[in-house]
Symmetry: none
DNA sequence: AATGAATGAGTCTTCATTCAT
DNA sequence: TATGAATGAAGACTCATTCAT
């Protein structure tokens, strides 16, 4: 690699790095104060620059959340698609989807919190059509998986699928509101315990 | 009872009725658009009056959410306290708490949504100390209940109590985001299925 | 007329009156400082209210110019249409159009100045399509009138119609930049002298 | 001439050339969007550089218009002064002034548009005193010329001089708003037709 | 009880300008 | 010469709140 090339890459990387940095900062602030209640100035303060300076990097407050959420969802669906394409049985698929979900909470905690709290309101605008689409794919994915699991005798046959889908969906994501990377449990450990609870129930086995 | 008094009471009742009406309207709007993102004017529009007119009934936007949330929590804890005071076993206590929770979603859907979405942010202000208190009572209540249930051999002894507490807590309340009174299932039916899932798990029983 | 009705009308009139007042003030300020260079605050100052208060009456700065210009053009075309519908000869039609133009400068001086200075820029937005339409009608009107006048032998046959059209068009409206209602000459007097100049030329008659 | 000197001159010339280029670009943009409504960034975009880079060449946005307008006016008055110093009769003087005016529109179209649209507002600042002076010289020049023409029996004796002055003044310059160098008519042809109209009028000669 | 008009602080955003590189 | 990142003042607009009627 010539020095020239290294330089050019260095600059491009630096630029992308600054963006990523600002997005991470913004995500943190949006997650903790709420998107609507957060002022652009607060985001800028947290980034150590002035309010107006953010607009050198981003078009608008909205485009900031947009980028935060779409980055998260792109990453998430890439992992999900890998799992779904692996040709596994329903229960193993479900287990791995749950693991990937908790891992994505680990990587994108702030984004997940925003997704959880704001996507319902944001998805009304045309700019956020992808949120609705993601939502729908989610619903289809879990619905089909539960149905398949029942057929494969992996899940109980008396499940109320739409209801279970809702609980699984929400239950995974709300974890973002309390999970702290580097805390007592790793993402994989949380996933394991969560699966234990969901699959086996919490009642003591009859003796 | 003199006619005078009846009049006075009639007026007072009418006034209280109007208040309740306005609170219900406001709760609905706050729930669907988010508290911070909702303008006083939107609430007033939904109530068919002008923005300024709301201030005849309430001191401020904040005092409106305040009243919505405290009404809901007062009612909720009254029911919880009844259950807790009944001297039941851990599992039955848990079952009845879940049932009361879903019933309260049925009665206060909008308030629960607001509680779910905004209480973290709101509870920072001094006016909303009761939200933090309620949160703490919640945590203690479930923690003690789970511990007791394990001792009583009602729940599996290998539960990760803090984790299970979090899942139970969130899992119940997020139901407010999709539950519609008068829908396919009554609150009690949802509670029953939910309990089935949580207690027994979703995995098909072996052999 | 009952007192009730008088009251209602009084209120409606007062409301419309306030709007008209604010529009007149805004037009004056836009005309003297230029639309883009005028701040909403300057308009509000001139009206004796605060900047934000203007938004009780109008949606945006743009909607203010919009209303100023469309009011002026509606009035202008109503008068033009009367003249055009009167079945007069080309020269008399032209004379009366010029008179009506100067009269409209008298009634809508500020609006005409704005129209003159800003319509080119404004008409690019979709909201101001009517400016382009008015412009086109103008062009057609004068083109046809000049052609007809030449056929009727009212105007010289060697006129370069597109060129003359342009001069007539601009020449009339720029008068708004110096005409002051209540000055040395009335609108009708200016029109008369203007017509003398345009029709007969300024060169001394030979012989 | 040493190579060194040639180089230095070459560089100086190149620099001056870049300046001129940028000024032409800026003039075009100011003319089409309006000075106040044009951002420095738009000018830079049109020149293919970044916003901040303009400040290597110019002190401020204001100094750019300043240079555009003063260049134009210097050139214009140099030509006018030649005509005025030639000792011609009033009518020939007037004809040649008009010709020079249209020629200057040909050479400085964008500058003339800016002059026409913005000089009233700009001339309020101290930096643009020369605009007011030019305006005054203009007025005196035309006033004296018309008076002299009447005395010399070149123009009709019943002219309303202040009025005719205004029409001549504006009428010539507004041509900049539609004239396109290289169009159907050359500047001299437009001048000729314009003079025909102004001198002889547009009415068909009697009998 | 409610209206209509206004307030004034604050929000998002723009933009001329600066400056290290 | 030009770039990229930032500044900071100002601009349009919003909105909770007030108050005379």
């Amino acid at each position: 690699m010539s020095p020239r090339r290294r330089d050019a890459e260095g600059t491009a990387t630096a630029r992308a790095g600054r963006r990523t940095e600002l997005l991470a900062t913004a995500a943190e602030v949006f997650a903790s104060r709420g998107y609507a209640a957060t002022t652009v100035r607060e985001v800028a303060d947290a980034a150590g620059i002035l309010g107006g300076s953010l607009y050198y990097h981003f078009d608008s407050k909205e485009s900031i959340v947009d980028e935060i959420l779409s980055t998260f969802l792109d990453d998430l669906w890439a992992r999900y698609d890998e799992v779904l394409g692996a040709g596994l049985g329903a229960r193993e698929t479900m287990e791995r989807l749950v693991v990937e979900s908790f891992r994505s909470i680990d990587r994108h905690r702030a984004a997940v919190v925003i997704y959880q709290n704001e996507s319902r309101h944001l998805s009304e605008g045309p700019r956020f059509a992808y949120l609705r689409e993601s939502w729908d794919r989610f619903e289809r994915m879990w619905g089909e998986l539960l149905d398949r699991g029942i057929k494969e005798n992996a899940f109980r046959s008396d499940l109320d699928v739409p209801l279970v889908y809702r609980f699984l969906r929400d239950t995974v994501w709300v974890a973002a509101s309390w999970y702290r990377p580097g805390g007592r449990l790793t993402a994989d450990e949380v996933a394991e315990r969560y699966l234990g609870m969901v699959l086996e129930g919490i009642r003591a086995p009859k003796g």
